[in-house]
Amino acid sequence: MSEIYDIGYRHYDGPRLGRGHSTRALAVHSLRGIFGLGRTARSKIMPFSLFVIMLLPAVVSIAMMALAQQRGLPYSGFAVIMQAVVAVFLASQAPTVVAPDLRYRVLPLYLSRPVSIAEYVGAKVAAMTVALFLLVAVPLVLIYVGELVVDMPGPPATGEFLGSLLMALVLALLLSSFGLALASFTPRRGLGVASVILVYLLASASVPVIYETLRSAGDESAAAWAWLANPFWLVDSVQSWLFGTPPHSIEGAYPNGPASAAILVVLLGIAVLALALRYRKAASR
């Protein structure tokens, strides 16, 4: 008699992998989602076309080295020059990481497993950071490999290359924590995209106007601080302080010294705090 109630549920008696594995699985899942892997073809179009756009200058740069024996883009200036593409990538993909979970209120489901809020947010930020780092670092590595293969006259710029890789990681961390914090304030994807790009454009479009105004007022040293309002120039100024690379601002130099690094750390702290506050509230609903 009793077997009609036995509908075949089986106990799980495989290995229990623990929290580290669940966090890692969440991060990998988010990273795949950013590039649209495992989703429809339509959601792959945007990330991959932006990725290809990022690769184009690298190809042109290698071609210039091979044909004209001339360096194209400097490693240290790559992220600043391509900043619009990176910003569009961040804006279009950051909401796909955070918005669906918020909209369908599945956060309590995640938290019913041994994943804490800190691990959930950490996994999401890590995934976005890795995606942005790949976006900037893959073309850089490509240019460097091209430089080695072409065998340019003089020693290869290994120091500048490694420095720019490290700064790409810092930039990715700053952008992803800020982008996710902004995107997580709305459960709607379109609004998330708009708010991220809005903050970036406000920061970047107002900078030359402020710089010009302060400089024409004769305050050259105060004008230099205006560049730090844009995250790309902020990271570039830290790079030029750490590695002595030339500044890649439109004109003029950055304020010297570790102040820009301090601003960077403070901004990172603000973004992480905003994420923590947002998710503490989202998890309690």
């Binding site: 989703r39 339509r42 945007m46 619009a84 279009s92 379109g190 406000l202 105004t213």
Partner: protein, 238 residues
């Protein structure tokens, strides 16, 4: 025009925190104008620079994008548009109503702040302030229509809109002069140039091309958006 649809759309765009998104840009524009005024940059050259590089180049496309896609895209995104479409209201009327809502928002959040910030710098000299206000208004109407259509056609409306406004109008327009002919911002500047007679404002597109282009793009996009809504299929979430 349907007042109930308009009311729902206003509430969706202005309710809760979303109004911050619309307020941020005009406030930044006014803030920059005040900054210029304080630091003595209140001459015609810097006024025209601020208007061209910030008001028309950054604030207007972004506001057009937020207002134009915001009136319809979020509803399509979360599927609540089905409640609107299942009512006995003609679909082109829905599209027209939402377009008018977007235009009214652009008047309040783009044209008026543009006038005020230009007036702060040069008051009414040479018609710079009214010129740019009207230019922003007509370009804003065209942007609202284009981005409304984009919001109906694709789910990546905001991203594609950003790429159009940043890459096409910004980068391509700078390097390939011919591309400027097909840029809404340039058409708006032509209208501004017609009204203002400041020597610092120079435009590339003739008014005889800009005005018909603005009218055709606006009417065509609103009409097409209505057509698209008539045979609309709700696809599942990605």
């Amino acid at each position: 025009m349907n007042t109930v649809v308009a009311g729902i759309t206003y509430r969706a765009l202005l309710g809760r925190r979303r109004i911050i998104l619309l307020l941020l840009l005009p406030l930044a524009l006014l803030g920059l104008a005040v900054l210029l005024r304080v630091f003595g940059g209140d001459d015609q050259r810097s006024a025209v620079l601020l208007m061209q590089n910030f008001a028309i180049n950054t604030v207007l496309p972004l506001l057009g994008l937020i207002a134009g896609t915001g009136v319809i895209a979020p509803e399509i995104d979360d599927g609540t548009i089905i409640h609107l479409m299942s009512k006995p209201i003609s679909r082109p009327v829905i599209a027209r109503t939402k377009f008018l809502v977007a235009v009214s928002l652009l008047v309040v959040f783009a044209a008026v702040p543009t006038y005020v910030s230009a007036w702060l710098l040069v008051s009414n000299e040479d018609g710079i302030a009214p010129g740019f206000a009207v230019g922003v208004l007509v370009a804003g109407i065209a942007y609202a229509a284009v981005f409304l259509l984009l919001g109906v056609v694709t789910r990546h409306a905001v991203t594609i809109g950003i790429i159009y406004a940043l890459v096409w109008e910004g980068v391509v327009g700078t390097f390939i002069p011919g591309a400027r002919k097909f840029s809404i911002q340039q058409w708006g500047q032509s209208v501004a140039d017609q009204i203002s007679d400041s020597a610092f404002l120079r435009t590339d597109v003739a008014l005889g091309f800009a005005v018909p282009a603005l009218i055709i793009v606006t009417l065509g996009c609103v009409f097409w958006a209505g057509l698209r809504l008539r045979a609309f299929s709700l696809t599942g979430d990605e």
